[in-house]
């Protein structure tokens, strides 16, 4: 139980995917203008990360490793994730139209999101067991969500601030991302407390 919590906490906060690992920066800057879409995007990422972890873990250990083809994991995972997202989109469109309206437009963006590929590769590199990899992927998704919500919250407030012309839009977003990232470094010491 402690291990599960530890894995989850590490993925979500300590090694926050966006702010510490610098993965998934594209949606982090692109979809963080308002809280609503940011939340929807986070939901979609958590969902896809979780499902992608299940399948890539199985493909790696039951197919690639068995035949000594570990070096193929990157193209194989990209293939799996691409297929999966497409599949989810098709199913959603048919059976969960409401969900499709909310998540749908973000799904194609996620296909090429490095955060997803990053999670699946880290799962393998750190030799996680199956259930640990699931917890890790969930944690990573939640961490992505945390970063998105913080960013969206700040950027919503920024709309009302008189900024120098040169900083409006993306420049200030990048500055804030940098400061947030530094703030998250502060969690680094907490590992020892947990152990």
């Amino acid at each position: 139980m402690k291990e599960i919590f530890f894995v989850f906490f590490t993925a979500a906060v300590l090694n926050n995917f966006v702010l510490t690992n610098f993965l998934g920066i594209c949606p982090f800057l692109g979809v963080s203008r308002k809280k609503g879409p940011a939340l929807a995007m986070s939901g979609a990422v958590i969902f896809v990360m979780f499902i992608a972890s299940i399948f890539t873990w199985m493909i790696y250990y039951f197919l690639l490793k068995r035949y000594g083809l570990e070096f193929l994991k990157i193209p194989a995972f990209i293939l799996v994730i691409g297929t999966l997202v497409q599949l989810i989109e098709t199913f959603m469109r048919r059976f969960a139209e409401r969900m499709y309206d909310v998540f749908g437009i973000y799904l194609p963006l996620i296909t090429t999101n490095c955060a997803i590929l990053g999670v699946t590769l880290i799962n393998i590199n750190r030799e996680f067991t199956f259930h640990n990899s699931l917890v890790y992927s969930l944690g990573a998704g939640v961490g992505f969500g945390i970063a998105m919500i913080i960013m969206a919250g700040i950027r919503e407030q920024l709309e009302y601030v008189d900024l120098p012309k040169a900083l409006e839009g993306v420049p200030i977003a990048l500055l804030i991302a940098g400061i947030l990232s530094m703030a998250f470094q502060g969690f680094a010491g907490t590992v020892t407390l947990l152990k």
Binding site: I59, G68, A76, T83, R93
Partner: protein, 276 residues
């Protein structure tokens, strides 16, 4: 070595093929057949996604229309032309059609209604309205930051030098976006053929109105007495005149007697009356 190469090609290629065909099969099997009618309706609709019909955009309206839940005339932006086209496409009645346009019910610009205090802050009406009941002497008057202008998708509104929005009747489609945008509720949709407007929304007492603005309605009832058609009435509580457009004949009697020059008559252009 050769084994590994062949195996790698076989496995990755096999996965690719399997996934590809699998996806193709599932996509065909689960294809969502969008009603062809929806496409055709979309081609006719203005496509502004203004939401005046109460749907979340034109597509949603098209779907409901195709399902028979709506009437063609509910697209206020498209007007008569679009409604008739839709009706002929769907083979239904166009429905009741009452074109409306937005009108501003305030004449108190910078010159007519002065400042109570100077406001330095976020330059939107919505924000200014929250601070101490607004910076204008009149608590009901136009704040002049142009939230309505920003809300208009059709370029029908602009601000004049006096700090009041001007609504271009030709461009206004009656979607009501500006009506929702005004924090003081100074814009209303009126029937397109309405010509006479009491351009004041102040619910303050006559004394306060006189202090706050040179063109505020003081509820003197001279218009009520002048009207032969029983079309204009002054509300007892708000001391504000309002016109019943089902009775108004645009004779202009009230316009002449109004001591504060609050009532305006808009001339009907010759071309427009011919077209209608």
């Amino acid at each position: 070595m050769a084994d590994t190469i062949i195996l790698a090609i076989a496995i990755l290629g096999g996965m690719g093929l399997l996934f590809g065909f699998g996806l193709a099969y599932i996509a065909r099997k689960l294809a969502v057949t969008e009603d062809e009618k929806v496409e055709e309706i979309m081609n006719i609709l203005p496509g502004a996604d203004c939401g005046a019909c109460g749907c979340a955009g034109c597509k949603a309206f098209a779907r409901e229309l195709a399902a028979g839940k709506r009437k063609p005339s509910e697209c206020v932006v498209g007007g008569k032309e679009v409604a008739l086209k839709l009706a002929s496409l769907l083979g239904t009645e166009a429905g009741e059609f009452q074109p409306k346009v937005a009108q501003l019910f305030c004449m108190g610009g910078r010159e007519e209604s002065g400042l109570r205090f100077s406001y330095i802050g976020i330059t939107t009406c919505e924000a200014a309205n929250l601070v101490g009941g607004g910076f204008k002497k009149c608590e009901y008057g136009c704040l002049g930051f142009g939230d309505c202008v920003a809300a208009c998708q059709f370029g029908a509104l602009s601000m004049d030098e006096n700090g009041l929005p001007v609504i271009d009747r030709e461009k206004c489609v009656g979607c009501g976006a500006c009506v929702k945008a005004c924090p003081r509720g100074l814009i209303s949709l009126v029937p397109e053929d309405a010509r006479v407007f009491v351009r004041c929304s102040s619910k303050a007492s006559p004394g306060e109105v006189t202090k706050a603005c040179t063109v505020g309605c003081i509820g003197c009832r001279r218009c009520e007495k002048a009207c032969e058609y029983d079309a204009i009435h002054v509300d007892k509580d708000t001391a504000l005149a309002s016109i019943d457009y089902t009775k108004c004949t645009a004779c202009g009697a009230c316009v002449e007697v109004c001591p504060r020059k609050v009532i305006e008559i808009e001339e009907i252009e010759a071309e427009r009356s011919e077209a209608a």
